[in-house]
């Protein structure tokens, strides 16, 4: 093994990313998707409420207090009732409230003023109607007929649907994109780097001073460096809160090491980048599908196969690292399954390369 050769090939490949549109795209696509999901999927459900009130009212703050942290309510005021209808019809507001003059005083005096709620036909009121009664009782100085205490329990299942419920849709989707990012680096970018060396015969020149092992180790280092850099940028860009950074880092590292072996094996097996473009999507999809689709009603055999995949195991570890309280547990089993895949991948890779002649 020649460390000078390994280091210099790795530096060369690291720099080549800035000149290779395919590599840049493969890195930027998941980053962009992560940012997009981060923006379009809200962390909590929210509703825009348009309100027309003849005078000041405490209703908005009472409604907010009743909803608590379950949702975000955004209020806006308009001068007339017709404008409330107009806003709801144009879908620039989810719900409209028309509050008569002297509403708060009437409530406090025990009268029964009329409040009008405007919502689109068949539209959801985002919990506003459910909490309106409690807010109005409070404003009228009435005690609720009974004290309701709600205990939230964690979903008992350990399937992705339960994890998604507990983690939140946005966080889970962003996590899925992070897995995709590692897959793109390991199963597309790295094989491209290796295959191109063989296809364009630059490997012949490298092997005049280095060995197949030197070349593969340098590519693996580049792959791991890409994963580290891309993950850091991804976490910062998506503002992903990571309660257990140690588990998060270990999970990404184990997943990257496992897939880098398979990516390089793929790169060593195909003869051209064109072939790679055709075939790399297959392992990419196979590894990515369980992340999103294992919650479907699938036969137990299919689920067992999905559970045996490294991508499923890294999702379990990442979900646990991103949750305040672990959902899956059994981390050693997850790491063990990934280690088994890594061992198999690297053994096949080494055997394949030892037989290879340029």
């Amino acid at each position: 093994m020649n460390f000078r050769v390994i280091w210099n090939i790795a530096i060369k490949d690291w720099r080549s990313a800035s000149r290779d549109g395919r590599i840049l795209l493969a890195l930027l696509l998941p980053l962009g998707l992560g940012l997009l999901y981060n923006v379009i999927i809200p962390e909590k459900p929210s509703a825009t409420i348009v309100m027309s009130a003849a005078d000041s009212t405490r209703l908005p703050e009472m409604l907010k207090a009743s909803v608590g942290t379950a949702a975000i309510l955004n209020f806006s005021s308009v001068p007339t009732a017709s404008e409330v209808y107009s806003r709801v019809n144009s879908k620039s507001a989810d719900v409209g409230l028309i509050v008569p003059a002297g509403f708060d005083a009437a409530l406090a005096a025990g009268a029964q003023p009329t409040i009008q709620v405007v919502q689109p036909t068949g539209g959801a009121s985002f919990g506003v109607l459910a909490t309106l009664d409690a807010a109005l009782r409070h404003m009228a100085g009435q005690q609720p007929p009974a004290a309701v205490v709600v205990h939230s329990t964690a979903p008992s299942g350990t399937d992705p649907a339960s994890a998604m419920t507990q983690l939140g849709v946005r966080k889970y989707m962003v996590l899925g994109i992070l897995v995709m990012l590692v897959l793109m680096i390991a199963v597309y970018i790295l094989p491209v780097l290796l295959t191109e060396e063989y296809e364009k015969k630059t490997a012949d020149a490298l092997l005049m001073i280095g060995s197949q092992t030197d070349m593969v180790i340098s590519k693996a280092l580049v792959g791991l460096a890409y994963v580290a850099m891309a993950t850091i940028i991804f976490v910062i860009a998506t503002r992903l809160a990571v309660p257990n950074p140690l588990l998060f880092t270990a999970a990404i590292a184990a997943f990257a090491i496992t897939l880098v072996g398979f990516g390089l094996l793929l790169g060593a097996l195909v003869r051209s980048v064109a072939q790679l473009n055709n075939w790399s999507s297959l392992p990419l999809l196979l590894l990515l599908l369980p992340v999103y689709f294992s919650s479907l009603a699938l036969p137990s055999v299919v689920k067992a196969v999905m559970d045996a995949l490294p991508s499923m195991q890294v999702v379990r570890l990442l979900v646990d690292s991103l949750s305040a309280k672990p959902i899956y547990g059994n981390w050693l089993v997850s790491f063990g399954i990934m280690a088994a895949w890594a061992a198999a991948g690297y053994v096949i890779l080494v055997r394949s390369l030892s037989r290879r002649e340029t």
Partner: protein
């Protein structure tokens, strides 16, 4: 240079080592080297010796086994049987000792096209642990200083080939392998590459060359070997081969403006020439020394 007795075809006379060969150390020694692929025996028990500092050319058709021989000598393919030593080190077991001492200009223009010419050289200089200063020197040697910062994909074939030669010199190799170094080049670029090879040889580098171009081999080589079907069918100095296998004829222009071709080994033709000379009928005589192409056709039955 010498060849094992069993390797020459039965009709070929035993080769004679040249004075240069016998007075210098061997850079490459090949003994019964064989490469068997699943369906074809690419190299079939060849044996030869290349002396240090000489230019040796291996000639043959596509598929004759030339490139496979170079691959085995440069450690990129394992011999199935036989042995080969480069600079005293075994190619199968001491590849790491050989690598810093040799280099290769491959048949393909295998450069990093997204990098500039200078970056290509600098990268390989770093791989070999060579000083940065060699990059500028080599760019100057091959006449690419003005194009040093341009991406290689903008280079012409000739420029790429000169860059390949420069790249192969970053470690100042003692043995340089050149696999078809002038293939596809225009005459001027080919001339530049040939001049580089000559100057390398003058500086003591051993050059192991494969080429399709007989004139090139004739011009450059101290020794040549012809390869066919994985075997070496002839080797010697170009001059000896031409004398041995070429047509020993002469074209005589007579005062009557008539041209006659005579065979020098034919006693009847010798008598005709003697008569013309006596009668003062001869205007000019041109000897028709055979070319390497003729030698190859005589040995392989078809031209390169």
């Amino acid at each position: 240079m010498a060849i094992a007795a069993g390797e020459s075809p039965p009709s070929a006379p035993a080769p004679q080592p040249s004075a240069k060969a016998s007075s210098t150390a061997a850079a490459i020694v090949i003994d019964g080297l064989t490469k068997q692929y699943p369906k074809v025996r690419a190299v079939d028990g060849i044996s030869l010796t290349v002396q240090a500092g000489e230019i040796f050319s291996l000639l043959g058709h596509n598929g004759a086994g030339k490139t496979t021989t170079i691959k085995m000598l440069t450690g990129r393919a394992r011999p199935t049987s036989g042995r080969a030593q480069v600079l005293g080190f075994d190619v199968a077991t001491q590849r790491d000792r050989i690598k810093p001492l040799i280099n290769l200009v491959a048949e393909e223009q295998n450069l990093y096209e997204r990098m500039s010419g200078r970056e290509n050289l600098a990268f390989f200089a770093r791989l070999y642990g060579a000083p940065d200063s060699i990059v500028g020197e080599l760019m100057e040697t091959v006449g690419l200083v003005d194009a040093a910062k341009r991406r290689v994909k903008t280079y012409s074939n000739g420029m790429k080939q000169r860059l390949l030669v420069a790249r192969a010199l970053v470690n100042q190799p003692r043995v340089l392998f050149l696999d078809e170094p002038t293939a596809g080049l225009d005459p001027i670029s080919a001339r530049q590459v040939r001049d580089l090879v000559k100057s390398l040889s003058r500086s003591g580098t051993t050059v192991f060359l494969t080429t399709h171009y007989m004139e090139e081999a004739d011009e450059l080589s101290d020794h040549v070997a012809f390869m066919a079907g994985g075997r070496i069918v002839a080797f010697d100095t170009p001059r000896e081969l031409k004398l041995r296998y070429g047509n020993r004829t002469a074209t005589v222009l007579l005062r009557s403006r008539e041209e006659a071709t005579i065979k020098l080994a034919d006693p009847a033709d010798a008598m005709r020439l003697e008569r013309w000379m006596a009668d003062d009928d001869v205007m000019t005589i041109h000897s028709n020394e055979g070319s390497l192409e003729d030698v190859f056709i005589a040995l392989a039955g078809r031209p390169l």
